[in-house]
C-alpha cells in the first residue's frame, strides 16, 4: 500500500520535473499548469503514502534516514509550492524538483532495516528530526534561489541575453528568496542539531562519537551560520551570498549522503 502510493508519487514528481524543465525552455502556460498539477498531485499522493506508513508503523515515519529524507522531500515540495505562490517565480520548479527527485528516488531505493537504536526514543527525538528536516527543506529552496541568482547574474554580466535571461526573475527577487529561506531554515537547523547533541550525549555516551552525519552536519551548520552572519552584519548579498548558499547546500548533501552511505548511528 505504502510503497505503491510512494511509487505513484515519485512518478508524479518525475512528470512534474520533466514539465518544469520543459517550461524553462518552452514558455507555454499550459506546460506550467500541468507541471503544477503534477507537483500537487505528487505531493498529495506522497502525503497519503506517509500517513499510511505512519499508521502501519504506529509511529512517525522518521526513524531511519531514508524515511526522514522522504519526509524532507514532502516538506520541500510543500514549501516550494508556497514560495512559488508568494513570489510568483514560476520557474522555481525547474530548480527544486530535480533535487526533490534525486532525494526521493534515493530514499525509496535505500532499504531502511533496523531503524534507530533502542537507546533512542521518545518525543524529543521526533522533534530533533522534524525540526532538522524543515531546516533542510528551506535550504533546498535556498540552494535553488542561489543557483537561479548566479545564472541570472551571469546572463546580465555577459550582456548577451539567452533563454534563461527571459525566464528567470529579477536578481533582487532571487536575492530576497535566498535570504528568506536562509533566515527560515537556520533556526530550525540550529535547534534541530542542538536537540540532537543534547540527546546524543546521554544516549550514545558521548556527543563526540564518530558519527559521520553528526560531524558533517556541524560543518554545514557552520557555513550557514557564517552566511547568515555575513548577510546580517556585514551586508553580504548577491553573488557572495549565493556562493555560500551553494557551498552550504553541498555540505548538507554530503551530510545526508554520509548518512545514507556510511555506517553510523543515524542508521541507513
Amino acid at each position: 500500500m505504502h510503497s505503491t502510493l510512494l511509487s505513484l508519487a515519485i512518478i508524479a514528481y518525475v512528470a512534474a520535473t520533466g514539465l518544469s524543465l520543459a517550461y524553462l525552455v518552452q514558455r507555454e502556460e499550459w506546460i506550467h499548469r500541468l507541471a503544477s498539477l503534477a507537483t500537487i498531485g505528487g505531493w498529495l499522493l506522497h502525503t497519503v503514502a506517509l500517513l499510511a506508513r505512519g499508521l502501519e508503523l504506529g509511529r512517525p515515519p522518521l526513524a531511519s534516514l531514508p524515511e526522514a529524507v522522504s519526509v524532507a522531500v514532502w516538506v520541500v515540495v510543500l514549501l516550494a509550492l508556497w514560495v512559488e505562490r508568494q513570489t510568483g517565480v514560476k520557474v522555481l520548479g525547474a530548480f527544486v524538483l530535480p533535487v526533490v527527485l534525486m532525494f526521493s528516488v534515493k530514499a525509496s531505493t535505500t532499504r531502511s532495516l533496523p531503524g534507530l537504536e533502542p537507546a533512542l526514543g521518545g518525543a524529543w527525538l521526533w522533534v530533533h528530526i522534524g525540526l532538522t528536516l524543515i531546516g533542510i527543506a528551506a535550504f533546498v529552496l535556498n540552494f535553488a534561489g542561489a543557483l537561479m541568482y548566479l545564472l541570472q547574474e551571469h546572463q546580465l554580466r555577459l550582456k548577451r541575453p539567452g533563454t534563461l535571461y527571459y525566464r528567470l526573475p529579477a536578481l533582487e527577487t532571487l536575492d530576497r528568496l535566498t535570504y528568506r529561506t536562509l533566515a527560515l531554515g537556520f533556526p530550525f537547523l540550529t535547534i534541530g542539531i542542538l536537540l540532537g547533541v543534547l540527546w546524543a550525549g546521554p544516549a550514545w555516551g558521548s556527543v563526540l562519537t564518530l558519527d559521520p552525519l553528526a560531524l558533517l552536519s556541524v560543518v554545514a551548520w557552520t557555513i550557514y551560520a557564517g552566511t547568515l552572519a555575513g548577510r546580517t552584519a556585514a551586508g553580504w548579498h548577491g553573488r557572495r551570498a549565493a556562493y555560500f548558499a551553494i557551498v552550504g547546500f553541498a555540505a548538507l548533501v554530503l551530510t545526508l549522503g554520509a548518512g545514507l552511505f556510511l555506517p553510523g548511528r543515524h542508521g541507513s
Binding site: 546580465l156 535571461y165 548577491g238 557572495r240
Partner: protein, 422 residues
C-alpha cells in the same frame, strides 16, 4: 460571394511609393463611397498606413474590384496605376482571411509584434462602418481578426520584449530590481535618448528622479520636465550613493563617472544593486565599474545587443503565433462555410415538411373514420420517410462544406428540390 484583399506593403513596395499612396481619413471616406458606388464591390475596407495600403472587400469578380479600387486610389493620389499594378498582391477567401488575421496580429509588420497596426486596423474598420461599407462578410472577419490579435498578444511573447534601446534599458532594470516602484533614478546629461529612458522608468513607478548637468539651467529645465530635482554638477558623486539607476548621456569626451568614484560609493550601499545605463558616445561611465560587486553597466552597444536578442526572441515566438493564426483561420473558415450551408439545409427541411403536411392532410381527409392509432401511424410514417430522404443530402452538404466544395452542391440542391434563393 468571394472575399478578397488586394494591396501592397513594406514587403514588396518601396517607401517612396507607399508614402505617395497613403491616404488621409477624409479621402478614405470618399474612396470607400466611390469604390462601392458602382456595385462592383459590395463591402469594402481600406487600410492605409505608412507600411501598407490594402483593400479588403467582397465582390463577385475580385479582379475587377481590385482594379477599380486601385484605379480610384491612384487617381486620388496622382500616382500612375502602371507603377502600382505590378506590385499588388491579391489573396482570396481563405488566404484573405489568414492575411487579415496575420496583419491584425502584427505578424506581417515590419517590426514583428508592434502594437500600432491593430489600432490602425480598428480605425479603418470604424471608418468603413461609418461609411456603411461593412456588411455580413467583413463584419465577422474583422471582429474575429481583432480577437485573434488579442490572443496572439496574450498567449505568445511576440510583443513582449523591447525593440527600442530605451525600453530595453527599462526591461534590464526590471531583471535587476524586483520592481521599479520607488527606485531612485539619476539622469546625467541632457541627451534625448537619456530623457526618454528616464521617462519610461518614471512611467513604471521609479521615483525620485535627480538630474545633473553641467549647465544649471538645462538641469532645471530637464528636472521640471521629469518632475525631478536638479542637482549641481559637483554633487554627482553624492547623488550616486543614493540612487539605484543612473542614466548617462552627456557629450563629454572623457568618462564623467570613474571606477574609483563608484567604488567609493558602493562601499556604503550594501545590498543595493547599482545599474548604469550609458547611452553616451563616447561613453560616460568607465568600463571597469562592471567588476564591482552589485554594479551593472550597459553601454549603447550592449543595449543594442539586448535589442537584437529580443528581436530574435520575438521571431522565435512568431512561429507559435503563426500556428495560432493558422488554427484560428481554419476555425473561422469552417464556421463561414457552415453559415453558408445552414440556410439551404433549413429551407430544404421546410420544403419537404411542407409537402409532407400537405399530403398528410389530404390523406387524413379521406380517412374520416380512422381511429387515432391509424392517424398516429400515418404521421410517424410520413415523418420517417422525410427524415430518411433528408439524411443523405444534408450529410453531403455538411461534408462538402467542411471540404470547401459546397458551392456546387448548394446549387444542385436548390435546383433539384426547387428551392428559392433567399
Amino acid at each position: 460571394m468571394p472575399l478578397f484583399v488586394a494591396g501592397l506593403s513594406h514587403r514588396n513596395a518601396p517607401v517612396e511609393l507607399r508614402e505617395r499612396l497613403a491616404v488621409e481619413e477624409d479621402k478614405l471616406r470618399e474612396l470607400l463611397r466611390d469604390v462601392t458606388a458602382t456595385g462592383t464591390v459590395e463591402e469594402a475596407l481600406i487600410l492605409s498606413t505608412c507600411n501598407r495600403v490594402e483593400v479588403y472587400g467582397v465582390a463577385p469578380a475580385p479582379g475587377e474590384a481590385r482594379a477599380l479600387a486601385f484605379r480610384h486610389l491612384c487617381q486620388h493620389r496622382g500616382v500612375s496605376p502602371a507603377l502600382v499594378e505590378p506590385l499588388l498582391y491579391t489573396h482570396l477567401e481563405e488566404d484573405a482571411i489568414r492575411h487579415a488575421f496575420r496583419v491584425a496580429s502584427s505578424l506581417d509588420s515590419m517590426m514583428i509584434g508592434e502594437p500600432q497596426i491593430l489600432g490602425q486596423m480598428k480605425e479603418a474598420f470604424a471608418l468603413a462602418q461609418a461609411c456603411a461599407t461593412i456588411g455580413p462578410s467583413l463584419h465577422p472577419l474583422f471582429t474575429q481578426a481583432f480577437a485573434v490579435a488579442k490572443r496572439v498578444r496574450n498567449e505568445t511573447e511576440i510583443a513582449r520584449h523591447a525593440v527600442s534601446v530605451a525600453f530595453a534599458a527599462v526591461e534590464l532594470a526590471k531583471k535587476i530590481f524586483a520592481g521599479l516602484a520607488r527606485k531612485a533614478v539619476l539622469l546625467v546629461g541632457a541627451g534625448k535618448m537619456g530623457e526618454l529612458a528616464a521617462r519610461h522608468l518614471v512611467e513604471q513607478g521609479a521615483f525620485p528622479v535627480y538630474v545633473v548637468n553641467r549647465t544649471w539651467a538645462r538641469a532645471q529645465e530637464m528636472a521640471r520636465a521629469l518632475s525631478g530635482t536638479a542637482l549641481p554638477w559637483d554633487e554627482l558623486e553624492t547623488a550616486l550613493a543614493g540612487v539605484d539607476i543612473v542614466i548617462t548621456s552627456t557629450g563629454a569626451a572623457e568618462p564623467v563617472i570613474t571606477r574609483a568614484a563608484v567604488q567609493r560609493v558602493t562601499n556604503g550601499r550594501r545590498a543595493r544593486p547599482l545599474f548604469f545605463i550609458d547611452i553616451a558616445v563616447p561613453r560616460d561611465v568607465e568600463a571597469g565599474v562592471d567588476s564591482l560587486g552589485g554594479v551593472y553597466r550597459y553601454d549603447i552597444d550592449d543595449l543594442k545587443q539586448v535589442v537584437d536578442a529580443n528581436i530574435r526572441e520575438r521571431l522565435r515566438e512568431a512561429h507559435r503565433a503563426e500556428a495560432l493564426v493558422e488554427r484560428e483561420a481554419g476555425k473561422f473558415v469552417a464556421r463561414l462555410r457552415d453559415v453558408e450551408v445552414i440556410p439551404t439545409i433549413v429551407s430544404l427541411r421546410e420544403r419537404l415538411e411542407e409537402i409532407r403536411l400537405g399530403e398528410l392532410r389530404k390523406a387524413l381527409a379521406r380517412l374520416v373514420d380512422a381511429p387515432p392509432e391509424t392517424r398516429q401511424a400515418l404521421e410517424a410514417l410520413s415523418s420517417a420517410i422525410v427524415n430518411k430522404i433528408l439524411h443523405a443530402p444534408i450529410t453531403k452538404l455538411r461534408e462538402s462544406s467542411r471540404a470547401g466544395a459546397h458551392r456546387t452542391w448548394l446549387e444542385l440542391v436548390h435546383e433539384l428540390f426547387g428551392l428559392t434563393r433567399k
